[in-house]
């Protein structure tokens, strides 16, 4: 509960923050809401030598509509997004993250950069095919969700880079649902499923995306489910049939409260429920 010694800087510009990270070297870390990084430090599971606190950096907060997307500043807190209907699945999912105290501090950029497969937002970004914008010494990069999550707590964001913005397709005309199964309301998902569905004018499935939380070292797409539904009917039977394939190809880690088999079972049940709810939306 007492972290190892570290230096701290709170620059008031993005360039200043990038410079501080560059000066701090490999073991410097940017600090956003701190609700993932600081607990790891207190348990001495992480030991950055320098924290570059982004709280004074201007222009990294808020959600704005731009063409077909939402541009969300990386430091936007979950509490500022939760339950906002116009934000679609982001509004739904941010309301389910941990508890209100965490949502009051945790940020969208921090959650995505942390890359925890048990977190909800990485799955949503993956399913929605969003991107993150990162700034680093080499300039600006745009990383697609599919390229972002590399391994457990490992992303394509390089040391010295800072996430500045998240772009989420607005997905107008899509139905959405995030089904989170956790022991207690405040827990990480044992398994979570994000379903996004667009119906064709005839009611069939024009497009569908399904993301899985905590079913592997990174968030996953349930591509077999998507293939099974895309272009076909979207009725209960079709959804139930497709959902049976939700765990295909997954190798979820077991823990004290859920074996891999049970997680695969949950993925199937939750996928069916999420698809059903998204299809009814």
């Amino acid at each position: 509960m007492i972290p190892p010694e570290f230096d701290y800087a709170a620059p008031d510009t993005l360039d200043g923050a990038l410079q501080a990270l560059a000066d701090g070297g490999e073991e410097a870390k940017p600090l956003a809401g701190g609700h993932s990084l600081l607990p790891l430090m207190k348990l001495r599971l992480a030991a950055p030598t320098l924290l570059v606190d982004l709280r004074r950096v201007p222009g990294l907060r808020g959600a704005e509509r731009e063409n077909g997307s939402w541009r969300i500043g990386a430091l936007t807190r979950h509490a500022d997004l939760q339950s906002r209907a116009e934000l679609g699945v982001i509004g739904e999912t941010t309301a389910l993250i941990a508890d209100q105290q965490v949502r009051n501090r945790g940020t969208i950029g921090g959650s995505l950069a942390h890359g925890d497969p048990a977190s909800d937002l990485p799955t949503v970004l993956l399913a929605a095919e969003g991107t993150v914008t990162v700034r680093g010494p080499g300039g600006i990069r745009e990383l697609a969700a599919a390229d972002l999550f590399r391994d457990y707590l490992t992303t394509a964001i390089a040391p010295g880079e800072i996430v500045t913005e998240v772009r989420m397709p607005a997905l107008e005309g899509w139905g959405h649902a995030y089904e989170k199964f956790s022991r207690r309301a405040e827990d990480w998902a044992m398994v979570g499923v994000c379903a996004l569905v667009r119906r064709a004018p005839d009611g069939s499935c024009a497009d569908v995306r399904v993301g899985l939380t905590n079913m592997g070292a990174t968030p996953l797409r349930a591509s077999a489910v998507e293939r099974s539904l895309r272009g076909g009917p979207l009725d209960r039977e079709a959804i139930a049939r497709a959902a049976e394939q939700a765990a295909e190809g997954t190798d979820p880690p077991g823990d004290l409260n859920a074996t891999p088999d049970y997680k695969r079972h949950l993925a199937r049940v939750l996928t069916r429920r999420a698809l059903q709810r998204a299809a009814e939306a």
């Binding site: 007492i2 010694e5 508890d99 409260n257 859920a258 074996t259 049970y262 949950l266």
Partner: protein, 796 residues
């Protein structure tokens, strides 16, 4: 503790009697709620050193060597000590249970390990320094060379012949074996048409107080002051005296504000002795505060029993005999009283039922885990769980309604001596069950259950489960508990001193050590009624061995029924002396004086009266007292009860189970508890809510788990699932009031009652919900996967 700023709504309460029974707000809450309370970790003394403990990462190992040099050389480090340095500690942690005629293995348990470690988290070295960060960093530099030994974590495996022996000197992992029995068990089972047998696992849990442990020791002019987050300052002083070889009057123990205990601070931990020893050795104050991780690993755990239960009954549903073989996982070492805990299981193993024969065989076992000891309920939750779950199991085997089977066997005559020698003081088990059913509307529930289950689109599985419980508390009669009884090496009286001050307000010194129960309020109500003043004018002082008489602290739901009775008796003595003074001044007979409407009045002439302040003036300016009367108005009482008290009640829990995932939701909770006449109903409700949540935690979420290597896998609040407000229902509470004949207040304890009552109601409810799917039995915790597995198993 004082209550500065207790600006409660009751501030302007008039003096008088009639405060007992009223739901007054808690006097102690303003300081707690506004953050003005002072806990150990808030305290800073000049020159204070901070301590960090080096703990074993191994569950069982020999310590080959310890190299402290790198740690000791770091900046800001004052000293590093290991077990080899503890020459000044005179004795290991005493274990205070020595039952006559029973051999109990007690390994030396030192504040720092000497030679070997037996569990993950065992303290191996202590680092002292000026800064709490520096000592934690330095602790990482203490190099300990461990030679791992074979590990055993399963208590049944530990009893097998091929198990690694944890303490060589005993040649076995068995700690003790003893039985508590009465009645002819063979005849009882011979008479039975049906014998139901189950193996019931009651898993390990934590007390999980929100304030972790902490201790601050100060050595000054040959005298030790220890401020500790403890439930037992008085007992701690005795034990520190033994362990430090220090004369008792040279030790002062203070329990400042204590942020929850739940039994986990009914203890004298190695760290308390260690900081005291360090303060004496260095001549500087030493503070240690547990981290949450320290607390999860090394604040004693509770439960952890495997119970083999047999119950005999006739076809008509008459219970004949009960036999339980209780295997208690004691962990690797004992703290002050762990091995006695399953004895409390044996006391109420036959529950509210009229068995002719009862037998409990208790076997304690060493494992490479941390110590188990008293956690809220301490042995009785295990008893209620097994009897109340098994009564449902038996009812189903007999084809008799579960409540009907209960009613056919309720004990109805009180006081009632049970076959194993305990005397249930009073009870009305039909009364609490009737009231519970009234609130529940069982017929309505059964209709709803059927309809929901048969919904063609979304079948919903709901169930109801009951627990009709009795518990034993109010520790306790010293004759029963003491050296010649159960073998506890102590007395279990309680003390109180009621001191009227010269201006007529009152200080009450209690030997109990409240830490969240609301006793400053209920004690004040008791005194107010007897002395004709407002509870607000009564200050309750506790938790300091330098003020008030020697006491026996707070645990075992004893504070009101033993400590409150002592206060009532001391207040009564003050009242009697005051009456004599009033009679003398008003020229009446003492027996004609009564306390009414805030004054001492002459019966029949209420205008002839003296306030307590006026009486106090006479007592402290003793110019005109009755002949032979001493000055002052200050009385002491020591009360040792003749019997335990036996609270009881009926809980009903409605759950809903998602058969696809196994998730359990609690839909309704009805708690009807009888703890005798209420002193303050609001405090009772609070205890029932908290107690039930504690049990909900065990039944659904909480579990201390070790892996096969003895590593603790639930070392944080992320893994150890304490329920939050989001997980618990809105409780429907009601009371019946059956006075106990044991004390003059008629009260029984309630701090543990709901925890003791509640787990079987949940488990029975889930089984009731899933019975149509073929599920017939479940052990706790009812995690979604466990429930889902049971459904799959039943379908096969």
């Amino acid at each position: 503790m004082g209550a500065p700023g207790a600006e409660a709504a009751e501030r302007e309460m008039p003096g008088g009697n009639g405060y007992v029974g009223r739901a007054l707000k808690r006097k102690e809450d303003p300081r707690l709620i506004t953050g003005r309370a002072t806990y150990v970790d808030d305290m800073v003394l000049p020159g204070m050193l901070h301590a960090a403990i080096v703990r074993s990462p191994e569950a069982h190992a020999r310590i080959a060597s310890i190299d402290v040099s790198a740690a000791a050389e770091r900046p800001g480090i004052e000293a590093v000590f290991t077990g080899a340095d503890l020459d000044g500690v005179a004795a290991p942690c005493p274990m205070v249970w020595a039952p006559p005629g029973v051999e109990v293995h007690v390994p030396d348990h030192w504040p720092l390990a000497k030679g070997k470690v037996g569990y993950v988290g065992q303290a191996v070295a202590v680092v002292l320094g000026d800064d709490k960060y520096a000592v934690v960093d330095a602790a990482e530099q203490v190099l300990v060379d461990y030679e791992p030994l074979p590990v055993v974590v399963d208590p049944e495996a530990a009893l097998r012949d091929d198990a690694p022996v944890i303490h060589d000197q005993f040649g076995t992992n068995k700690v003790f074996e003893w039985s508590l029995a009465g009645g002819d068990l063979d005849a009882a089972f011979a008479e039975a048409d049906v014998v139901m047998e189950r193996r019931v696992v009651n898993h390990r849990t934590a007390g999980a107080a929100i304030e972790p442990r902490g201790a601050l020791a100060e050595w000054r002019e040959g005298r030790l002051t220890l401020r500790s987050s403890t439930q037992i300052p008085h007992i701690a002083r005795v034990i520190l005296s033994i362990q430090l070889g220090l004369s008792e009057e040279r030790i002062r123990v203070i329990a400042p504000e204590v942020g929850g205990g739940f039994g986990s601070k009914l203890q004298v931990y190695g760290e308390e002795v260690l900081v005291a020893w360090c303060a004496r050795r260095t001549g500087r104050p030493v503070k240690w505060t547990a981290t949450r991780s320290d607390d999860m690993a090394t604040t004693h755990h509770g439960r952890d029993q495997i119970d083999y239960v047999r119950i005999g009954a006739t076809r008509e549903g008459r219970l004949t005999g009960i036999h339980a073989r209780v295997i208690q996982d004691c962990g690797a070492y004992h703290l002050i009283e762990g091995p006695v805990i399953p004895t409390f299981t044996s006391c109420v193993i036959s529950g509210v039922y009229d068995f002719a024969a009862v037998r409990t065989d208790v076997i304690g076992v060493f494992t490479n885990k941390f110590t188990t000891d008293a956690i809220r309920g301490a042995g009785r939750p295990e008893a209620t769980h097994l009897i109340e779950v098994c009564i449902d199991q038996l009812a189903d085997e007999l084809g008799i309604d579960r409540l009907e089977l209960r009613r056919r066997n309720f004990i109805r005559d009180f006081p009632n001596e049970r076959p194993h020698g305990f005397v249930y003081d009073s009870g009305d088990y039909d009364g609490t069950l009737d009231r519970c059913l009234e609130l529940l509307d069982l017929d309505g529930f059964r209709r709803e259950q059927e309809e929901l289950r048969n919904d063609p689109v979304h079948p919903v599985y709901r169930g109801v489960g009951f627990s009709t419980y009795v518990e034993i508390c109010g520790l306790g009669p010293s004759r029963a508990l003491g050296p010649d009884g159960w073998g506890m090496q102590g007395g279990y009286f309680e003390s109180a001193q009621v001191r009227v001050l010269p201006t007529g307000s009152v200080m009450v010194y209690t030997g109990t050590s409240p830490h969240g129960q609301g006793l400053e309020t209920s004690f004040a109500q008791i005194v107010a009624d007897r002395l004709g003043l407002a509870p607000d004018a009564v200050e309750v002082i506790h938790g300091d061995t330098d003020s008030g008489p020697f006491g026996k602290d707070t645990y075992g739901s004893r504070s009101l029924s033993v400590g409150g009775e002592a206060i009532a008796r001391a207040a009564q003595k003050v009242q009697e002396k005051a009456k004599r003074i009033v009679a003398h001044k008003l020229e009446a007979a003492p027996e004609d004086i009564e306390v009414s409407d805030g004054a001492f009045r002459v019966k029949g002439s209420p205008e002839q009266a003296m306030s307590l302040a006026e009486v106090a003036t006479e007592a402290y300016i003793p110019a005109d007292l009755p002949d032979g009367m001493e000055a002052g108005l200050d009385e002491l009482s020591f009360y040792d009860p003749d019997n335990f008290v036996w609270p009881f009640g009926a809980h009903a829990c409605v759950t809903e189970v998602d058969p696809e995932t196994g998730r359990v939701e609690i839909v309704r909770w009805i708690a009807v508890d009888d703890c005798g006449p209420a002193i303050n109903p609001k405090l009772i409700d609070g205890q029932v809510h908290g107690g039930a949540v504690h049990a909900i935690g065990q039944a659904l979420y909480e579990r201390i788990a070790y892996d096969d290597d003895g590593q603790l896998v639930t070392g944080t609040f992320v893994d150890y699932g304490l329920p939050t407000a989001a997980e618990v229902p809105s409780f429907e509470t009601a009371r019946t009031e059956t006075p106990s004949p044991t004390n003059s207040l008629g009260v029984k304890g309630v701090g543990e009652a709901a925890t003791i009552a509640a787990t079987p109601a949940i488990v029975n409810s889930v089984i009731d919900a899933l019975r149509p799917l073929g599920v017939t039995y479940l052990d706790m915790p009812l995690t979604p996967e466990r429930v889902w597995d049971a459904i799959q198993e039943a379908r096969r």
